[in-house]
Each structure stands twice: as structure tokens, then as C-alpha cells.
């Protein structure tokens, strides 16, 4: 089971080119949440964006502990999914990637248990 504060992005990001792999912070120029850290958060965005290198960057962030603890998308994104699966395979770090249409826009603390998303507190 994963618990974390939801980081709800106003715009999707590409893990590669959009997140600094050395700090885990959003570095895309002009992104509304520029500078925010993904570490320990449940990352919420409608879908992925951009580069197919995002799988590698996600796996690397999970290896170094700078990554999110879970990812919630509106539509499945295999680029993020495989990044999380490989981190689990290599380092036994879990970062479930789930598809949900629940309203998470208000943020708060959420848990992901066996692929199910639930609000823990506002």
C-alpha cells in the first residue's frame, strides 16, 4: 500500500526533460509547478507527455528515492508504467501507476492499495 500527498499538476510533464533527475523537481520552463518536488508525492496528471525516455528517468528517480510514491492518470500511459515496473524489478521499489477518474483536484492525502485509489484525508 502507498500513501502520499497528491501533487495535482495543472499541466502534464514529461519525466525526461521536465523533471531534474538529480533533484526530483519539475524543471520544465514555464510549467505552472516549476520547482515542485515529486519526492514522496502521489503524482496526478491527466496523461504523460513527451519523451519516451521518461521510463528511464522515472526508474532512476525511484532508484535514488527522489521519485513519487504513486502516479494517477486519467488514461493509461505505458511509458510511465514500464518505468515503475522496472524499478520494482531491479530495486524492489514500488510506485503503482493507476488510472482513475476520481476527483483529486483538491489535493489531500490519498492511498493506493492493490490498484485502488482512496482518499485518506483532505
Amino acid at each position: 500500500m502507498t500513501v502520499g500527498t497528491a501533487l495535482v499538476l495543472d499541466e502534464p510533464i514529461s519525466m525526461w526533460g521536465g523533471v531534474d533527475v538529480h533533484t526530483g523537481r519539475i524543471c520544465e520552463q514555464g510549467h505552472p509547478q516549476h520547482g515542485e518536488s515529486l519526492q514522496g508525492k502521489i503524482l496526478v496528471m491527466p496523461h504523460g507527455r513527451g519523451s519516451s525516455s521518461s521510463s528511464s528517468v522515472l526508474a532512476e528517480l525511484l532508484r535514488t528515492g527522489l521519485g513519487p510514491v504513486g502516479i494517477v492518470l486519467r488514461t493509461q500511459d505505458s511509458i510511465l508504467h514500464i518505468g515503475a515496473l522496472v524499478a520494482e524489478e531491479l530495486y524492489h521499489v514500488s510506485c503503482p501507476v493507476v488510472v482513475s477518474t476520481l476527483d483529486i483536484d483538491g489535493g489531500g492525502v490519498w492511498e493506493i492499495d492493490d490498484g485502488m485509489l482512496r482518499r485518506v484525508e483532505k
Binding site: 531534474d20 491527466p46 496523461h47 513527451g50 521518461s54 528511464s56 518505468g83 515496473l85 524489478e89
Partner: protein, 411 residues
């Protein structure tokens, strides 16, 4: 998900540990996408050979140790190093060593050392309707949209898992219905704009922003949207959005008509793409300070045809500023005379990698000018530079004069 006997044998480890891990990951992703079964693929293009940290290398090492080898013809994307011009690399030696090991690992698994992000410029090209597994966002859009080959958006790891198993989950863009356009957008631009190369890069940027993960269908373009322009459009759309395919009605092979492009599924209608939208896109991507420091063209890797065009443009001229041309080693080999012209101009030719992903350009004193919306999208965060966008002609004239010269886009 149904697995055939060969899939199950791989999963059980009959073909070695690497094939077992690759199949295990493929099945997990396929289940996540609710794929009914796996299909055979004819070729693969690997994005995972570019070094981003230990995770990518740990994975490749695990595959090599487990006896991993590709089952289908497989090309390799750009890496972090230019093996033909090793002195260009200004990064640290430790990273270079790890990047080299990553590259070697993929070659060891039987991939062709093509080192290009534009594998569609190589022979043989995937045939119309063929099932492939390609990584590299711009290559994915080109393969689907322009060639009519079928690939989902594959990320690092997934690309080599498909190559090793020769299989991919049957979902999304691999299926007939999964290729139907879901968001129709009208392009309403004056004729002159459609003769300008940069217009197509800007359209792509807008399309990626607006379409998100939909399959956009563009109406209002014509045959002037040739391969080079579609390449620029797709690369931009795949940077600003999560785009795997773009239909251009009357131009791309699965969009002879609007009805063919959208199929039987309901589709939305997006905002009109007009000149004002392109101006906004230009301002988003082109935030230069006004003082020009360097020029970089060829993102994605410049084609043979464009290299010829560029060489003709620079003949007898001399750049005042550092001028980089990114292209495939395969293209370089085909154009020795043009390479001489470009070197006489003062250009630095970069192969195997690209100036926006690895330290080659060093500190730039002023803006970086480029004709690529993809470069403009990523370079500010990757390299910490300010970018000025211009057409290829503008890039050449500006380099010669040592200041930004713009024929059209000067907002």
C-alpha cells in the same frame, strides 16, 4: 491476456533469463492496457541506449547477463556520445564511461549501431501496415502518421522487451480502430504561411498542447506538408503533448478523407489553429534575449535531402558563430562533398547524439537559434539556454551576420 505456447515458454525461462524478464514486463504492461494477447512485430527501434543514470544501465546489464538478444531487426536511437567525433563531448569521464557501457550493451544484444533519432531515414523503412515497436517520440509519430506502420508509444525498457521477445501487446495504435482520429482540428492559415517550414513546427507545438493524448486529425493542410514538414510537425507535437499519431486529411496515408481518418467512432472538434495561435506558440518557444550566441539545426537528425539543401545554402559563406548540425552517421557517409562545404562554412557536424541531450556546445554567450520546435522545447531546461526559433534559412543568414535575422517570425 492470452499467451501462446512460445510466450509461455519465454515466461517460464526456456529462452533464458533475459527473455523471461522481458516477457514478464511485457505481460504486466499488456494487462495494464487490457490487451487481449501479444502480436509479432517486424522491427524495433530502441530509445533506451541514451544514458540517464544507473537504472538504465542496471537494466541493460541484467539483460546482457541473462543472455538477451533481439529477435527482430532493431535500430538504436541517439546516445550520449558522438563516437565519430569523440572530442566533441565536454562532459565528465565517468558519465562517458557509463554511457559507453550502455551503448555497448545494446550492440551486444544484436542491435544495429545506427545511433539516430530519425530511423525512418534508414533503409529498409517499415512498410505500410506493418507492426513494429519503436521508441523515440518523434520516430513513433512519423512511423504511424507518415509511413502507416503501427507502433504504440514505447518508452525505454519496453522497446528492448519487445525486441527480445519479438512481441508487443495488441492495443491502441497496433489495432485498426485504435488509429482512428479522435480530435478534429481545422488549420486556417493564409497560403504564404503554408510555404514556410517553421509554420509546421509551430502547428505541431499547438497540436500537442491542445490534443494531449488524443489522436489529432488536421484539416486545412495540403501536399505542401511534405515529409520534412510532417517530421517537424510530429516532433513538436510529441514534445508538447502525448501524441503517437497525427492524421493530416488529404496528406497522410490513413487520412485520404476525414471519414477515413476518424472511422466509425465519435470524435471531438478542437479549436481552430490560426495565425494568432502560431504567434503564441512562437512566443512560448522563442524566448531569446536578442543577442545571438550559437546555432544548432538537425533535431531530429537532419535528412540527406536537408543536408544537401543546407550545404547549398552555406556554400561560399562563413559562420561567425558556433554552428552545429546534428545528423545520422549514415547520412554523413552519404554526403562527403556536402560535409566539406559545411566544414568550410565553419559548422560542427554532430552524429550519434544530439546537441540538446549531451554536453557538446559548452557555454553559449547569448541565445541559441534553432529551426526545431523540439530543440526549443527541451533546450532551456536541459541546457539552461535561451532559445530563438527561426527557419533553416534564417538560421544560416543569422549565423553569417552574427545577429538574429528573421524573414517572417519577428514578434
Amino acid at each position: 491476456m492470452d499467451l501462446d505456447s512460445d510466450d509461455r515458454a519465454m515466461l517460464a525461462g526456456d529462452h533464458g533469463e533475459a527473455a523471461a524478464m522481458a516477457m514478464r514486463l511485457l505481460v504486466a504492461v499488456g494487462r495494464g492496457q487490457a490487451a487481449p494477447h501479444l502480436i509479432d512485430i517486424e522491427s524495433a527501434h530502441i530509445d533506451g541506449c541514451l544514458y540517464h543514470g544507473r537504472a538504465g544501465l542496471d537494466f541493460a546489464r541484467r539483460l546482457v547477463r541473462g543472455g538477451g538478444g533481439v529477435r527482430v531487426p532493431t535500430t538504436l536511437n541517439v546516445s550520449s556520445l558522438d563516437l565519430l567525433h569523440p572530442d566533441l563531448y565536454k562532459g565528465d569521464a565517468v558519465t562517458a564511461g557509463l554511457a559507453m557501457e550502455l551503448m555497448d550493451s545494446y550492440v551486444q544484444m544484436g542491435c544495429r549501431p545506427t545511433w539516430t533519432c530519425a530511423p525512418y531515414h534508414l533503409e529498409p523503412r517499415p512498410a505500410f501496415g506493418s507492426q513494429i515497436a519503436w521508441g523515440e517520440s518523434n520516430a513513433i509519430v512519423f512511423a504511424n502518421s507518415v509511413l502507416g506502420a503501427r507502433t504504440n508509444r514505447y518508452g525505454d525498457f519496453m522497446d528492448i522487451c519487445c525486441a527480445i521477445t519479438g512481441r508487443a501487446p495488441l492495443t491502441g495504435l497496433h489495432t485498426y480502430e485504435g488509429r482512428w482520429g479522435s480530435l478534429v482540428m481545422h488549420v486556417d492559415l493564409a497560403g504564404g504561411l503554408l510555404d514556410d517550414d517553421l509554420t509546421y513546427a509551430l502547428i505541431g507545438h499547438v497540436v500537442g498542447r491542445l490534443a494531449g493524448s488524443e489522436i489529432p486529425v488536421l484539416i486545412g493542410l495540403d501536399r505542401r506538408a511534405d515529409e520534412e514538414r510532417l517530421k517537424a510537425l510530429g516532433a513538436a507535437a510529441a514534445s508538447s503533448g502525448s501524441i503517437g499519431m497525427v492524421h493530416v486529411v488529404g496528406v497522410t496515408p490513413e487520412a485520404l478523407t476525414l471519414e477515413a481518418a476518424t472511422g466509425d467512432a465519435p470524435h471531438g472538434v478542437g479549436p481552430v489553429i490560426d495565425e494568432r495561435g502560431l504567434e503564441t506558440a512562437f512566443r512560448e518557444l522563442s524566448r531569446g534575449t536578442g543577442r545571438l550566441g550559437a546555432v544548432s539545426v538537425g533535431t531530429p537528425h537532419m535528412s540527406y535531402e536537408s543536408l544537401l539543401r543546407l550545404a547549398a545554402m552555406v556554400e561560399g559563406r562563413r559562420t561567425r558563430l558556433p554552428f552545429y548540425v546534428n545528423t545520422a552517421r549514415n547520412t554523413l557517409e552519404r554526403a562527403p562533398a556536402q560535409v566539406q562545404l559545411l566544414e568550410a562554412f565553419g559548422a560542427t557536424l554532430v552524429t550519434d547524439t544530439c546537441t540538446y541531450i549531451t554536453p557538446i556546445m559548452g557555454d553559449i554567450d547569448g541565445d541559441l537559434m534553432t529551426d526545431s520546435a523540439k530543440m526549443a522545447y527541451y533546450a532551456p531546461a536541459n541546457l539552461g539556454v535561451t532559445v530563438r526559433l527561426g527557419s533553416l534559412d534564417d538560421c544560416v543568414v543569422s549565423a553569417v551576420q552574427g545577429r538574429v535575422v528573421s524573414s517572417r517570425w519577428d514578434l
